[in-house]
């Protein structure tokens, strides 16, 4: 029980670090853009032309960064709400999308194309926080072991009473082992399964549509 709580806190901390790092990058871009704008305006006061196109490009860039920050903060807020109800009905597609968004803050994802094929809405009854944690770990593994094409495809399938999250694009010759103890712990907590077909470059996370009992349920304080 302590192990899964520790894993949860580690994940929370890691996510916070990623978000704060991204926000600092955004602030740095805004700060440099405003600094440059200030200097160009000063130069224009001394006769060096500052064209409307240059001004427009810099103001557009500030708007883009504010939008980027807003997206990050929306993700942070959604993620923070994943612990509101420890076990609840969740949209698997939404949690998958959120974890992909969080993963995109990690430098590891910057050189990989991630395609997410969102299927029909798929509600499951589980622990949203630990589900997110397991998906994040799995997607992170896929990115760290990606095939030379640098393309990861993620999709969801319903096979009642189970649902599957499929991840394709892993290098068959990757030396990385998976699942490792943290994923095994999360799998056990959620009553899930993980299948890694190394030769096909595919990982499948299989989840029950309705998690019954299990370690995550025992964490609920009544």
């Amino acid at each position: 029980m302590e192990k899964i709580c520790a894993e949860g806190l580690t994940f929370f901390g890691k996510t916070n670090r990623l978000i704060s790092h991204e926000l600092k990058n955004i602030f740095a871009i805004i700060s440099e853009t405003l600094g440059l704008l200030d200097e160009l305006m000063e130069l224009s006061g001394r006769g060096t032309a500052l064209t409307p196109e240059r001004l427009r490009s810099m103001s557009d860039s500030i708007i883009e960064e504010v939008e980027r920050a807003n997206t990050v903060i929306r993700c942070m807020n959604t993620f923070a709400h994943s612990v509101d109800e420890f076990i609840s009905e969740v949209d698997l597609g939404e949690i998958t999308f959120l974890m992909i968004q969080l993963l995109k803050l990690n430098p590891i994802s910057k050189t990989v194309m991630i395609e997410y094929l969102k299927g029909e809405p798929c509600k499951i009854y589980t622990s949203p926080f630990f589900l997110g944690n397991l998906l994040y770990h799995t997607f992170h593994f896929a990115l760290s072991a990606v095939a030379p094409e640098k393309y990861i495809k993620i999709s969801i399938h319903v096979d009642s009473p189970r649902v599957e999250v499929d991840i394709f694009g892993i290098a068959p010759d990757s030396p990385k082992s998976f699942p490792t103890p943290p994923e095994e712990l999360l799998v056990k907590t959620l009553g899930a399964e993980i299948w890694f077909d190394r030769s096909a470059g595919r990982v499948q996370v299989v989840l029950p549509q309705k998690m019954a009992g299990g370690p995550a349920a025992a964490l609920l304080v009544k």
């Binding site: 871009i29 440099e32 130069l43």
Partner: protein, 117 residues
């Protein structure tokens, strides 16, 4: 004095380079480690300002690669990490490091300090 700025955030690094040029520095920039290594192969730099966290290769690994290719270059790290622990770990690897976002005067001060060592 010739500077090489490396950061995967293109808008950040290109604008920082332009601001440094306005102050009389010669500043090249790169957004990937491959580009950075190619520039180091082609030019002689006095100082490299490296982002710590980049895709494919960390700033610390990039510093080690650059050191094998050239001599006399000083390093300054730029990081978005805010914790003291992270900051200390990075500082052990460079003359100094600064946390994003920063004032350009702070970077210039660090450049001057680095050149005196």
């Amino acid at each position: 004095m010739k500077l090489l700025l490396v950061d995967d955030e293109e808008k950040f690094v290109s604008r920082l380079a332009e601001r440094l040029e306005l102050r009389g520095f010669e500043a090249d920039w790169a957004t990937t480690y491959e580009e950075a290594l190619a520039k180091v192969r082609a030019e002689k730099y006095d100082i490299a300002v490296l982002d710590v966290k980049m895709p494919s290769m960390s700033g610390i690994d990039l510093k080690n690669r650059i050191e094998k290719m050239t001599t006399g270059i000083k390093f300054i790290f730029v990081t978005g990490h805010g914790s003291e622990q992270d900051y200390d770990a990075v500082c052990r690897e460079a003359v100094c490091c600064i946390i994003k976002p920063f004032k350009i005067e702070t970077l210039i001060e660090k450049i001057e300090q680095a050149l005196q060592i």
